[in-house]
C-alpha cells in the first residue's frame, strides 16, 4: 500500500536498529506518548529488538484509556434514557463503567450506535427530531477539530436535540505532569505525530527547554518510530534537548491553523481528570459558554456523578509509565480484553491490551529487551 509499505521496509528497519545501537553509549528511557505508537511498537515487537540500553515506556496517549470512570458512568446514565440515541466511536463501547458497559446496555435495549465521525451523529439528530442524539466526544487534540465542527454544524442547522458528552484532553499538560512526578524516569519523548499535525509543535518548545528533554514529533509506522527513537537518542547522547520533527510528511511547526481556530471557537481550556492519573490543571477542553447548550452533562443533569476504580487495577501506574502491564497481579487473569478491569485493557491502543494481544506473559520485572534480533522471548 502506497505511503505505508515504504515505512515498513525490513531492510531499512535493520539499518535503523543498527544505527540506534551504534549511537547508544549508555541506558536511556524514552516515552512514546501516543497509543497508536504503542500499538505499532508492541505489534511489531520493536521494543524487544532495540539495543539493551534503550527502553520504551508507554505513555498516556490512548484517549479511551484516560477517560475517567465517572465519565463512562455518565455516558451509561445518559444512554439508558428512553429518549436518547447515544453515539460513539467503536472502541468506547466496551469500556467498563462501574456496573456495565455500553455494549451490554445495547443488548438490554438502549439505542447505542457506532459512528465513524461526529458529523454522522449530527446527521442522525437532523433526521430524528423526536429523539435526543448524544455524541461521546472523546480524544486528544486530534479529534477535537472534527468534534468542534460537529457542534458548529448542529448550531448552524439549529438542532435542539444534539449534544455532546465531552472528555477532551490535551497532550502537553500530561507530559508536564509526567515530568513533574518524583519517580519520573523519562529522559526523552516521542511526541504524537497526529496531535502535532493539528497543533504544531511550538507548545513543546518550552517543555524541552524547561525540563531539558528531547522531544521528537514522530509518526506511527515502524520506520517512523525507529527514526524517532534514533533522533531522540542522538540528542541525548549529544546533550541536546530540542524539539525535532521526524514526521515531516504530515506536520508543520504551526500545525493546522484552521483546525485550531475551530477548536478555539467551540472549546475553552480547563482542568480535566485523567483516568489513573488524576486531575491535571489546564489539560482538557470544555464547551464554551456560547455552546454550553450542547453540553450533555448539563442537559441530562449528570455533572455530579462520581465513581470508584476497581482496587486491583494499576491503570494509573501504567498510564504514568512507572509500571508495565506484566507487573500487574490482575493482568491476564482477572483482567483480559474479554473482561477488562481498567481502560488500558479495553482499547486496542491501550498498553495492557497491546501487551495482551501480542501474547506477552506476566513477568517479574520491567521488560529488558534482548540484544539479538533473533532472540526468542519467554511467553
Amino acid at each position: 500500500m502506497k505511503y505505508v509499505d515504504e515505512y515498513r521496509d525490513p531492510a531499512l528497519a535493520r539499518h535503523l536498529f543498527a544505527q540506534i545501537e551504534a549511537v547508544t553509549s549508555r541506558p536511556w528511557t524514552l516515552m512514546e506518548v501516543c497509543g497508536g505508537q504503542t500499538h505499532t511498537i508492541v505489534r511489531q515487537g520493536i521494543d524487544e529488538l532495540l539495543p539493551a540500553g534503550v527502553r520504551m515506556i508507554h505513555g498516556p496517549g490512548c484517549p479511551v484509556c484516560v477517560t475517567p470512570l465517572e465519565l463512562i458512568d455518565k455516558a451509561l446514565a445518559i444512554a439508558q434514557r428512553e429518549e436518547v440515541i447515544f453515539t460513539s466511536y467503536g472502541d468506547m463501547l466496551r469500556v467498563p463503567g462501574t456496573t456495565t458497559d455500553l455494549l451490554a446496555l445495547r443488548a438490554r435495549g438502549a439505542d447505542v450506535r457506532v459512528v465513524y465521525s461526529p458529523l454522522d451523529a449530527v446527521r442522525i439528530a437532523a433526521e430524528r427530531s423526536d429523539r435526543e442524539v448524544v455524541f461521546f466526544a472523546v480524544g486528544f487534540e486530534t479529534t477535537a477539530p472534527a468534534n468542534a465542527m460537529a457542534v458548529l454544524r448542529a448550531h448552524q442547522l439549529g438542532l435542539p436535540n444534539f449534544s455532546m458528552l465531552v472528555s477532551h484532553v490535551l497532550v502537553p499538560p500530561a507530559m508536564t505532569a509526567i515530568l513533574d512526578a518524583p519517580d519520573c524516569e523519562v529522559r526523552g519523548f516521542l511526541a504524537a505525530g497526529h496531535v502535532c499535525a493539528v497543533m504544531g509543535w511550538t507548545q513543546y518548545e518550552p517543555i524541552a527547554r524547561r525540563y531539558q528533554v528531547p522531544i521528537v514529533v514522530t509518526g506511527f509506522e515502524p520506520l517512523d518510530l525507529l527514526e524517532g527513537i534514533l533522533m531522540a537518542v542522538r540528542q541525548l547522547e549529544e546533550g541536546r534537548a530540542e524539539v525535532e520533527n521526524q514526521y515531516v510528511r504530515a506536520v508543520r511547526r504551526s500545525g493546522n491553523t484552521a483546525a485550531q481556530d475551530a477548536i478555539r471557537r467551540v472549546f475553552h481550556i480547563g482542568d480535566r481528570a485523567w483516568r489513573g492519573i488524576g486531575t491535571i490543571p489546564g489539560s482538557g477542553l470544555m464547551l464554551t459558554e456560547e455552546f454550553s447548550r450542547y453540553d450533555a452533562e448539563l442537559r441530562f443533569a449528570v455533572a455530579d456523578l462520581t465513581a470508584q476504580e476497581h482496587p486491583a487495577c494499576i491503570a494509573g501506574d501504567i498510564l504514568r509509565g512507572t509500571r508495565v502491564p506484566t507487573e500487574c497481579t490482575a493482568y491476564g487473569t482477572l483482567c483480559t480484553p474479554r473482561t477488562p478491569l481498567g481502560a488500558p485493557m479495553v482499547s486496542t491502543e491501550g498498553t495492557c491490551a497491546a501487551f495482551y494481544n501480542a501474547g506477552r506473559s506476566r513477568q517479574p520485572a520491567i521488560l529488558r529487551p534482548p540484544v539479538s534480533a533473533t532472540a526468542t522471548r519467554s511467553r
Partner: protein
C-alpha cells in the same frame, strides 16, 4: 486462553455479560466459543456430539460417510458488491461441507421474512440462490418459508442445510495438525468483511472491494485427489478470520502454529480499509478462501494444484505447525519481531483515531 485461567472461575469478574446475549457472541471469536462451550453444548446434554463441534459433522449411514451442515445468514445489507445473502448462504453451506472433505449432494433453504419485505428483493435473492446452486451443481431439494411481524426480523434471514458425501480419501479434522506440517492459504484475505462493513456503513470503499464469496468444493476435490490423506486440516476462515481459524486448529491439535507476516496476502484496498478503521485483516471474515494444514512433502505439489485452479490462483504458503507453544499462533513480523496472533474477542470495534 482466558478461559483456561482458573482465576476467572473463582473471582468475581465484574463485567463479563452472562445474562444477555451480546452481538459479540455471534462474532465467531472467543465469545462465540464460550457461548457454545458454556451454554449450548451443556444444555444439549446427551444429545450433543461427543467430539469438538465443527461447522459440519460426519454421520455414518449404512457404510456411507455422510456429512451434514447447517448455517443461518443474517448479513446486513442483503445486497453487497460481489454477492448477496442468497449467494452467501449457498456458498457458506457448500464450503462447510467441503471443509470436511465432502462433495455436496443437496441442500435445503429456509426463509424468515419480515412483514413488508419487497417481493422483488425476495425474487432477486431466490434467483441468486438458484444460480449459485446450479453453478455449484448442488440442487435445492426442499425448504421452508415463515413470515414474522414488522420488527421481529431485519428484512430477510436465510438458513441453509446441506448434505454431502465424504470423498473416500479425505480424512480431515481440526485436530489433525502435527509439528512439521505446512500451513497453506488459498487466496487473499479480508475482502468479504471489509466489503460488508464498508457497504453497511457507507464508508466509500465499495467501489474498490468486492466480497470473495465462492464455492470451494471443486478446489477441495482437486486437492484431495492430489494429496489424499496428506491433507490433515481444512478450514474456511469466515467470521473471526484467519486468526480465529488458526487458533481453533492450534487448540484442537494441541500444536503451535507459526506464520510469516510477509506471506499474508492482503489486497491493497483491504489493507487500506483496515488501516483506516483500525481492524486487523487477520480478524476479518472471508467467504472464498481456505486454510489447509498438510504434510510437508505434499505442500509444494498442492500449492501447484491450488494455483492452477480457478479458486486458488494466489495460493500461498503461510507458515508451519511447530512443537513449541501448543495452542498458540505466533507471527514473525516484517520488522523481525514476533507476536502472538490471538482470536478475536468479541465484535470488531473501529478505533477512535
Amino acid at each position: 486462553m482466558s478461559a483456561a485461567d482458573p482465576a476467572l472461575g473463582t473471582c468475581p469478574v465484574p463485567l463479563a455479560e452472562t445474562e444477555k446475549v451480546l452481538l459479540g457472541h455471534g462474532s465467531g471469536g472467543q465469545l462465540s466459543t464460550e457461548l457454545l462451550r458454556d451454554v449450548v453444548v451443556p444444555a444439549l446434554g446427551a444429545a450433543a456430539t461427543e467430539t469438538v463441534p465443527e461447522d459440519a459433522a460426519l454421520i455414518g449411514v449404512d457404510g456411507l460417510d455422510l456429512v451434514i451442515s447447517t448455517d443461518a445468514f443474517v448479513v446486513s445489507p442483503l445486497f453487497f458488491p460481489g454477492g448477496d445473502i442468497g449467494v452467501l448462504a449457498v456458498h457458506g453451506t457448500i464450503n462447510d461441507l467441503a471443509m470436511m472433505g465432502a462433495t455436496p449432494l443437496a441442500m435445503a433453504v429456509a426463509y424468515i421474512i419480515e412483514e413488508g419485505f419487497p417481493v422483488a428483493d425476495l425474487q432477486r435473492v431466490t434467483t441468486s440462490i438458484g444460480a449459485a446452486a446450479a453453478a455449484a451443481g448442488v440442487p435445492v431439494v426442499t425448504g421452508d418459508t415463515k413470515v414474522v411481524g414488522r420488527g421481529a426480523a431485519d428484512g430477510l434471514f436465510v438458513t441453509t442445510t446441506g448434505i454431502g458425501r465424504r470423498l473416500p480419501e479425505a480424512r480431515v479434522s481440526a485436530a489433525f495438525a502435527r509439528p512439521g506440517d505446512v500451513v497453506l492459504l488459498s487466496g487473499p484475505i479480508g475482502a468479504h468483511g471489509t466489503t460488508i462493513l464498508s457497504t453497511r456503513e457507507a464508508l466509500g470503499f465499495e467501489a474498490e472491494i468486492a466480497s470473495d464469496t465462492r464455492p470451494l468444493h471443486r478446489l477441495v476435490a482437486a486437492m484431495v485427489a492430489d494429496a489424499k490423506q496428506d491433507i490433515h486440516v481444512m478450514r474456511d476462515p469466515t467470521r473471526g478470520g484467519v486468526a480465529s481459524a488458526l487458533n481453533e486448529i492450534a487448540v484442537a491439535s494441541q500444536a503451535g502454529i507459526e506464520i510469516d507476516e510477509a506471506a499474508v496476502p492482503v489486497p491493497a484496498p483491504v489493507a487500506a480499509a483496515c488501516e483506516l478503521l483500525g481492524l486487523d485483516p487477520l480478524h476479518v471474515a472471508n467467504e472464498g478462501c481456505l486454510v489447509a494444514v498438510v504434510a510437508p512433502a505434499a505442500a509444494e505439489p498442492l500449492l501447484a494444484t491450488m494455483r492452477s485452479s480457478p479458486e486458488g490462483p494466489c495460493a500461498v504458503r503461510l507458515g508451519e505447525v511447530v512443537g513449541d507453544h501448543p495452542g498458540r499462533v505466533v507471527m514473525n513480523t516484517v520488522m523481525g519481531g514476533r507476536r502472538v496472533v490471538d482470536m478475536l474477542v468479541g465484535e470488531q470495534l473501529p478505533r477512535i483515531c
